[in-house]
Subunit: 337 residues, 2 copies
DNA sequence: CTGAAAGCGCTTACAG
DNA sequence: CTGAAAGCGCTTACAG
C-alpha cells in the first residue's frame, strides 16, 4: 500500500495525495475529502523513509538522550516534548548509549531527518567542539552549561552548578559538618561534575578549609552500585566523616545503602545529600536532601530559546535557571562542639 | 556527501561502493581498500532513509518499548540487545508512549525497516489480535504471557504470573497476615495484572478466604504517585489491614511513603511487598520483599526462541522462566494470635 | 569483479 | 486546483 495505490483508488494523481497528507492548502475540498476517505479506509501511513529522503526539512526538533536509566532526563524529556508541541514543532527522540558520541549521532540525524534544531540531554564535553557548527542548525544543551565552550550555534540551559554545589556545602557547614566527602562523575568528561566540585572547593575555602581531592572526592558512574562502591571507598579514605554530598540522587541512594551495610545510620551517624531532585528522592526514608533542578522551567526556557534561535536566526545564549535546595531528612544538624 | 561523491573520488561506480559498505564479497581487495580509505577520510555514513527505502530486509530485530520510566524494561532491554548482538542480529529500539498502540507502530516499522522479528516490551492486551500475523515476521512478547492469545506468530516469555502472585500470598499468609490489600494495574488492559490477581484469589480461597475486589484491589498507574494514591484509598476501604501486595516495586515504594505519611511504620505496622525485583528494591530501607523476574534469563531465552522462529520458520512458543521470591525486610512475621 | 540502470515511495517545482 | 515528471540516496538484478 503506497501513495500510488491511494491515488489510483481515489482517482487523483500522487502529487495531490501527497498534498493532502502534508496539509498543503492547494487542494479542493472535494479532492481532500475523497482522498482522506481512501486513506482512512486502508489506515494508510506514508513511508517515512521516502518522506525524509525527499523532504527538505522536517517540522521537527531532534532530541538526543544519553542513557535510558536517567530519571532526571526522562522527566525533562517529557516536558520538552510538551513544550515543543505547544510551539508547533514535532519532536523526534533518539536514545543513545552512555558511551556513544552524541555529536556524531547528531550529524547523522541532521543529514537524514533535517530537523530544525537539536537538543542534547547529557553530554561528554570531549565530544563538543567548534565543528558542531557544521550541523547547520541551532543546538541546545540541557542541564549542562555550554557557556564555556563558545560554540556559535550551541545554547544551553542549566542551573548554576557551581553556585548550587556551594549552596549545599554551605548548608552542610551550617549544620556543623566539617568532615565532608564527595561523590561525583568523571571530572574529565563531565562538565557539571567539574563545576559542582569547584563550587564545593570554593565554599570550603571561604571557610578556611581545604579539600584533599584524592581522599575526599571519588568519581563514580551515575548509578546505584556506583554510589555504593564510592561510599565504601570514602569510608576508608575519610575516617570520621560526618557528611557525604553525592552529585546525583541515584548515587546518594547507593551511598546510603553502603553506609547502612556498614552499620551506620543516616542521618544519625552520617548525613547524605544528593543532586537533581528526582521524584524518587521525596519517597525515600529519610527523604533525601537535594538540589532540585527545575525540569519544567528548564524545558520551557530551553524550547523558547531554541525556537527563537531557529526562527530569528539569532546566536547562542546561555541561561541559568534557579535551583532549589530541597530540605529532606537526610542531613543532621550536629550539636555545637 | 553521498555514495556518489565517494564513488567519484575513489574512481569506482556507486554500485561497487555500495557493495563495500554492505560487505558484499564480490569486490576486489584493491577496490575494497581504496573505497574504504575514502569512506574513512570523510567519515562517511550512508543515508539510512535511502538504504531502508530500497533494502529488502535489514539484518535487525525491532524492539518496541512502552514507556521510558520502566526500570524493569530498561534492564531487560539491555540484556536483549546484548543477546541479539551475540546472535548476529542488530537491534533497533523504538520507544513509544504508554498509551500508544504498539501493534500499529510495529506495522509501520515492519513496512519501513523490514526487521526479521519484533520484540514487544509491555503490551495492552486490547491491541493484540489475529491481525498481528499480517506483520509477516515472528514476534515476541516479553514479561507478559501470550499463551492465551493463540496468535500464530506471537511467542512469549514470562514468569508464571499467577503462580508467582500465589506464592507471595502464601508467604504473607504464612507470616500470619489475614487482612491483605492489593495494588495492581488496570485489569482490562493489563494481562499480567489479571493473572497475578487470579493467583492471589486462588491462594486466598485455598485457605478459605474470599477477596472483596471492590474494597481490596485498587488499580493504579505503575508509578510512585500511582502507588501512593492507591495506598491512601486502601487505608479507607480496608481498615485494620496488615499487609499490602503491590504488583510492581515502584508502586510498592509509593505505597510505603503513603503509609509513613499516615504515621504507619513498615513493616512494624503494615507489611509491603512488590513485584519485579528491580535493582532499587535492594537499596531501600527496609529492603523490599518482592518477586524477581529474571531479566537475564528472560532475555536469553527470548532471543533464542525468536531467532529459532526466524531461522527455522517455526511456530510460536510460550515459555515460562522461574521467578524468585526475594525476601527483604518489608514483611513482618505476625505473632500467633 | 565491475558498471550502467532501474526503482524503492515519496515531495516539489513547473506547467497548465 | 491538478497532473506529469524529476529526483532524493541508496540497493540490486542484469550484463559483461
Amino acid at each position: 500500500m503506497t501513495i500510488k495505490d491511494i491515488a489510483r483508488e481515489a482517482g487523483y494523481a500522487v502529487g495531490t495525495v501527497s498534498r493532502v497528507i502534508n496539509n498543503n492548502p492547494n487542494v479542493s475540498p472535494a479532492a481532500r475529502a475523497r482522498i482522506r476517505a481512501v486513506i482512512e479506509k486502508y489506515n494508510f501511513r506514508p513511508n517515512t523513509n521516502a518522506k525524509h529522503l525527499k523532504q527538505q526539512a522536517s517540522q521537527g526538533i531532534a532530541m538526543i538522550v544519553k542513557g535510558t536509566h536517567n530519571m532526571l532526563f526522562a522527566l525533562v524529556l517529557e516536558k520538552l516534548q510538551a513544550q515543543c508541541g505547544a510551539a508547533g514543532y514535532n519532536s523526534m527522540v533518539y536514545y543513545i548509549d552512555e558511551q556513544d558520541n552524541e555529536v556524531d549521532r547528531a550529524r547523522q540525524i541532521c543529514r537524514e531527518h533535517k530537523p530544525h534544531g537539536v537538543i542534547f540531554l547529557g553530554s561528554d564535553r570531549n565530544h563538543f567542539g567548534p565543528d558542531l557548527e557544521e550541523l547547520g542548525v541551532p543546538c541546545l544543551l540541557m542541564t549542562n552549561s555550554a557557556a564555556g565552550e563558545a560554540i556559535e550555534n550551541l545554547s544551553s540551559v542549566s542551573v548554576d552548578d557551581t553556585a548550587a554545589a556551594a549552596r549545599m556545602v554551605a548548608y552542610l557547614l551550617d549544620h556543623g559538618h566539617r568532615r565532608i566527602a564527595f561523590i561525583g562523575g568523571d571530572l574529565v568528561s563531565s562538565q557539571p561534575s567539574s563545576a559542582r566540585l569547584s563550587g564545593c572547593i570554593g565554599e570550603l575555602s571561604r571557610h578556611g578549609m581545604a579539600l584533599n581531592l584524592a581522599a575526599q572526592y571519588v568519581p563514580a558512574r551515575y548509578t546505584l552500585p556506583g554510589g555504593y562502591a564510592a561510599m565504601e571507598q570514602l569510608l576508608q579514605t575519610v575516617p570520621g566523616l560526618t557528611a557525604v554530598f553525592a552529585f546525583s540522587d541515584i548515587m546518594a541512594i547507593g551511598a546510603i545503602r553502603a553506609l547502612r551495610d556498614h552499620g551506620l545510620r543516616v542521618p544519625e551517624d552520617v548525613s547524605v545529600c544528593g543532586f537533581d531532585g528526582i521524584e524518587l528522592a521525596a519517597y525515600l526514608a529519610p527523604r533525601l536532601t537535594t538540589i532540585r533542578q527545575p525540569a519544567d522551567r528548564m524545558a520551557s526556557r530551553g524550547v523558547a530559546m531554541l525556537v527563537h534561535c531557529i526562527e530569528q536566526h539569532s546566536g547562542a545564549v546561555h541561561e541559568l535557571v534557579p535551583y532549589e535546595l530541597l530540605e529532606g531528612e537526610s542531613v543532621l544538624r550536629l550539636p555545637d562542639p
